[in-house]
């Protein structure tokens, strides 16, 4: 006997969140680090130092994102179809940026030419900055609803353009994301490196932590006062067929705060989102690197969880056809697929966590400039 459909759907919503937060915690520090590469490090040695702080482990971390994409395909096919095709050019930008990462890491030190290396340093920085910005912009647009609808065959049509994504709230959300990932990367560098790089990273971490908290708070006020949230009208069966055409949805201001009213304990997510980056900024000043990394991680998790909880049970609200919005109750895979993928994830994810921990342990310890300058690139 399979578990109840509504339970499976809820677990998969939480799992998708877990994968995104896992991605943010691990990939965030190397995306953030890459983003800061050209800012925080000046000389060739310093830049190699920054790269060496992440180059053995970044690849595994990026898989969290790939798997979050794969999991949304498997568990929320309509979400995967609507978001990837709707955000077509934005996704293309992210994709081209992500393509720069593996080649940037591997190719840079293969030729000892200044221009060649500088070019790849910038490629890596762009490869960090663009996804960070676009993910934030995408979330900002999800909170406002995006223009899409379905025909009777459930073929999705998206009626907005790329530039429509760059509205004020979308850009603000993009900046929250950039600040948050810059903070996480800078805290990591302050902990992992030494010398001038660590000092610069510490200063950036302070700024970025404060910026992340302030921008996030501003976005919160905006969501409460200036954005119409979405509410399912009437009752929507939690165990019905995955067909998003069978419900009515209304829009009202402040609706995204509804879940926090119903379950006050959830307020912990936005509180962490504001407080933890400030704490991280403070801890970095006092050179408490490990504690700062932990605080920064909690901040990242808090910010992402806030967005997810606010939207719940919506995955992707439609501004033009609100009734056709995708929710966790009517856009999932079949019960059998959700169940099998849950079993697989339940078995595999702990194993992944263990060997990721092992890989990080093998590469533990500071990356000192003096050591870096003594040896060749190991790629």
């Amino acid at each position: 006997m399979l578990p109840d459909y509504d339970l499976l759907r809820f677990i998969w919503w939480a799992l998708l969140g877990t994968l995104l937060i896992g991605f943010a915690l691990l990939a965030a520090y190397d995306i953030g680090t890459a983003m800061l590469l050209t800012t925080v490090a000046r000389s060739d040695g310093e830049r190699r130092q920054v790269r060496e702080s992440i180059e053995a482990n970044w690849e595994g971390h990026q898989v969290w994102f790939v798997v979050a994409g794969g999991a949304s395909f498997a568990a929320w096919p309509l979400l995967y179809a609507a978001s990837f095709s709707g955000f077509y050019l934005a996704m293309l930008l992210v994709l081209l940026a992500l393509i720069l990462r593996p080649v940037g890491f591997n190719f840079r030190d293969k030729i000892a030419d200044k221009r060649w290396r500088t070019a790849w340093d910038w490629a890596l920085a762009v490869g960090g900055f663009v996804p960070a910005l676009v993910f934030g912009v995408a979330f900002g647009n999800l909170l406002q609803g995006v223009p899409f609808g379905f025909d009777r065959d459930l073929r999705v049509t998206y009626s907005g353009g790329f530039l429509d994504l760059l509205n004020p709230f979308g850009i603000l959300s993009g900046l929250v994301s950039v600040a948050m990932l810059a903070m996480h990367g800078a805290v990591w560098l302050a902990l992992k490196t030494d010398g001038a790089v660590a000092a610069r990273a510490g200063r950036i971490a302070g700024f970025a932590g404060i910026a992340a908290a302030l921008l996030f708070a501003l976005a919160g006020i905006w969501v409460a006062e200036g954005i119409e949230g979405y509410v399912i009208g009437g009752t929507l069966s939690h165990t019905g067929a995955s067909n998003p055409l069978a419900k009515s949805v209304t829009r009202e201001f402040g609706a995204w705060l509804g879940n926090f009213h119903v379950h006050p304990a959830l307020i912990v997510a936005p509180v962490l989102g504001i407080a933890a980056p400030l704490v991280a900024a403070l801890l970095v000043r006092f050179r408490l690197g490990v504690a700062a990394l932990l605080a920064s991680a909690l901040g990242v998790a808090g910010i992402i969880a806030t967005a997810g909880v606010s939207l719940f049970p919506f995955l992707m609200p439609s501004s033009t056809h609100p009734g056709e919005s995708l929710t966790i109750w009517d856009a999932s895979s079949s019960r059998l697929t959700l169940f099998i993928m849950l079993i697989a994830t339940g078995v595999l994810l702990p194993i992944i966590v263990v060997y990721t921990g092992f890989a990080l342990r093998v590469m533990r310890g500071p990356v000192r400039l003096a050591d870096v300058e003594r040896h060749e690139s190991r790629y």
Binding site: V66, V67, A74, P77, Y80, A81, N106, N243, T337, Y379
Partner: protein, 518 residues
Amino acid sequence: MIDAGIVELSRLQFALTALYHFLFVPLTLGLSLLLAIMESVYVMTGRPIWRSMTKFWGLLFGINFAMGVATGITMEFQFGTNWAYYSHYVGDIFGAPLALEGLMAFFLEATFVGLFFFGWDRLSKLGHLVVTWLTALGANFSALWILIANGWMQNPVGAEFNPATMRMELTSFYDLVFNPVAQAKFVHTVSAGYVTGAMFVLSVSAFYLLRGRHVALAKRSMTVAASFGLASALSVVVLGDESGYTATLDQKMKIAAIEAMWKTEPPPASFTVFGLPDIATHTTRYKLAVPWLLGLIATRSIDEKVEGIDDLVERGIQRIENGMVAYQALAALRQHPDDRAASQTLETHVQDLGYALLLKRYTQDLSTADPATIRRAANDLVPDVPVLFWAFRCMAGIGFYFIALFALAFYMASARRLERRWFLRIALWSLPLPWLAAELGWIVAEYGRQPWVVEGVLPTYLGVSSVSLGSIIGSLVGFVLFYSVLAIIDVVLMLRAIRQGPNEEPAPEKRPLMEGED
């Protein structure tokens, strides 16, 4: 109506990015395993030259691996960006192996590949060997899940249509995983990857021996490549035959097109070795055929028929007509979800629903399609015969060539004659062949699957996203520019690394080295 330009450009973009991605995948598959074998010899014998070999081939592996990862992300994105209706229609089944690929394979590969490069001084000898094997294991698992996903597109088992959600849904995960087509494809594809890795090592080593450089390293590498390559080349051809056999059950049209077999012959059918297939007249000119052979290969019997293209088109017409009944029942069911009679009718004819969808290219109202339109749609069932005919023959020819080449290499290695220059030249100049064969293989498999994106279930035409033509042109141009630059950089870096050669030469040995000592 869907814009035909969007369909064509989406297909072109997918084909280009997939073929490009597969320039790197086979080498990753083969070389990762060869690295693991070389390092195993190092750990067992303790001879530092095997460590140098592992590091040197590992350096080349790394350049290739980076390109493979970079271009692989495109594939994962592209189902959603360009094939949104496909993603909705079959995501319930197809998404699962893709997600499992990430969880079971890509995580493993990507986590340990970092330790392979950066863990030499931080791990014990044995610890590092385990890391190398896990990287190779990850790469091979990855191929397994991807080919389970692809095998389902060729032979969609374990799934059924659900009218309430307007999509295919999983009924048996077991059938999905143990799909015979997927299993045969997996073995065929990874074996082709191993041949590619072996060919690469053989050719680069031959280059060194021709120049008289890095002789000790090159000879040992060649010996490993020769034996590994021979086993793999045999496996590709033998298990390639296995994929032909499974195709007769599920993809009769594909095999008929590969053989340019227009009419059903009395069994056992003959195998056309050479000929000029003519689409206009449905005949093959200048045909050179071996009697009986195709019937034996394809059906493993002497009395079963291999159906010809014309008969398969006639059967297609029947299935389209059948599918139209299913489609009308589906329309009735949407109006009145409780209509028992419609539900029953749909259930009886649902296996032909996909065939009715072939009509959508020509008419929106499927219920009134006239016989001429139906015939037109049925004629679409015939893939591009000359392309498949030739692509298959070139691929198979190269496959047999590899058996001969690696058998020769194996003999030369055993007889300690690796330094014969004629042999080294052959080994060097055969380098591009595995890539050519692999790309041709994908053309046979995927171009031969047309007009379907999922065989018998969803026509390719319907699978696309509703995006603007401008966006697709933009992305296509972006990919072509981006990928071309990367291709140039990749080749330049590979050639540089090969010219520089291994930088960690072992200490010269005191006495002249006898081959076969280690």
